[in-house]
Amino acid sequence: MIQLFSYRELIKNLVLKDLKLKYRDSTLGFFWSLANPLLLIAVYSFVFTRMLRVDTPDFPYFLLVGLLPWNFFAQSLMMSTGSVIDNGNLIRKVRLPIEVFPIATVLFNLAQFLLALIVLLPATMLLFPTRVSWTFLAFIPILALHVLFTVGLCFIFSTATVFFRDVRHFTEIFLMLLFWLTPIVYDVRALAESLRAVVFMNPVAFFITSYQDIFYRQSLPSPAHFTGLCVISVLSLACGYSVFRAFRLRFAEEV
């Protein structure tokens, strides 16, 4: 961990490299990162409010506050499957703490998440009768826990891909299913009690509903809920990092 701290410059450079490569030479640049969630929100809003007659008020705003953090989580996980194997050449030729790669992946997606949120949240709020609330401040601890949780899982997925390349395909399908099991397009409060219990077996649901609480319902997550977030995050990071450490020495030979 101490060694990792001295490699923070590398983590920073890896994140900047990915951001530069993504937006350099594209005329519309950052706009493309916004276009994807915007289009999805437009289509889902139309389908759910006009065709399926879902009565969640301010549906597009509701969708936005759940979708952006989901995208951060899902894209981090998807990218993390390649974060060790795609850097195989580097790992075989230079000694460095390999942890920097999954961490940089998460931070790269975090940067994109924050940029999208900064633009889209105020823009959407103007369109709907919502106002800024002091509950927004809880975004910082919730996000911090969400990042730890995501890093933990990314450690596991990046390790697993080294030994089984199929993990990439599996993750894709897994995330698609998980999307519908996570209360992003539907409000968990509208569900029957028994179904709600099922939804909360999914740890991601804890995070998404917390974002909805602070931004959409403008209330704080209950202390029990918040404790749940802490436990999930710490568990994920502890398990993820121990798995990564246990296999790390074999990476140079396997990638």
Binding site: L10, N13, K93, D166
Partner: protein
């Protein structure tokens, strides 16, 4: 010279997997079809190597292809863990690996961006990277090309940038794996001079080479590896003689 590094009875086994399956599908098929089943073979790349490296020494590793030179270099660098035995550093030393030039460079990034990225890959802080930047540009003779993506560089230019960065990283111990054959004659001469300078500055250098001239001019000592065992360790001229005899013996099939 005081000992810096002790390699004690180091062995390294690689598992060579024939029909290596990295997917669940082939694993599954393997249950039924022998042809798809994974078979493992253990290859001992290094067998019981013991060696002491002294501070400020230049040590050459020679041997045929596949004799274990690069594996030994990577075990010293800490990239591979030894299967048994131990690598013990007696003093704290800053290790620099020059196994491949320009490792981690990205073709779409400019020369300048690649220098900073490459420096951080080797563990330099921003400040340290800024400190060596001018020296890297000067050494690689690429002033004026720093804002150009390196995909537009010629192969020689890319190699020069890589070498320029590598020699300016300033570690205490350099692990070098045959990276000299870059650039034109003038640049090669410059590289050789630079390596000599690093030697006189008291750096410890361990390098793999097939070039007898470089071994003779640079090395204080050579180690000859053959099939993963240490055949000879000592005077470079004598070591090269041993190596030559080995090659002749192999050629004659004895």
């Amino acid at each position: 010279m005081s000992p810096l590094l002790e390699i004690q009875n180091v062995s390294k086994a690689f598992t060579i997997r024939h029909n290596r399956s990295q997917s669940l599908k082939t694993n599954f098929i393997g249950l039924f079809h022998k042809r798809f089943r994974e078979t493992k073979e253990v290859l001992w790349a290094l067998k019981d190597i013991s060696l002491t490296v002294h501070q400020g020494e230049t040590l050459g590793l020679i041997g045929r292809n596949g004799s274990g030179k690069s594996t030994l270099l990577r075990i010293i660098a800490g990239i591979y863990p030894p299967t048994s035995g131990e690598v013990r550093w007696l003093k704290k030393a800053n290790i620099g690996t020059m196994i491949e030039l320009g490792v981690g460079f990205h073709p779409e990034l400019t020369g300048r961006e690649n220098i900073f990225l490459g420096a951080s890959i080797h563990g330099l802080t921003r400040k340290q990277a800024e400190g060596i930047y001018a020296a890297v540009v000067e050494f690689s003779e690429l002033d004026g090309f720093m804002d150009v993506p390196i995909k537009n560089y010629s192969t020689g230019m890319q190699a020069r940038l890589g070498f320029g960065l590598a020699v300016n990283l300033d570690p205490d111990v350099l692990l070098v794996d045959e990276i000299f054959a870059v650039g034109d004659e003038a640049f090669q001469k410059k590289c050789t001079e630079r390596m000599s300078r690093l030697r006189t500055e008291g750096k410890t250098i361990i390098f793999v080479s097939h070039d007898p001239v470089k071994i003779k001019t640079f090395c204080d000592r050579v180690c000859l590896l053959d099939h993963g065992t240490l055949r000879f360790s000592g005077d470079p001229v004598q070591g090269l003689g041993e190596y030559h005899r080995l090659l002749v013996a192999v050629a004659q099939g004895t």
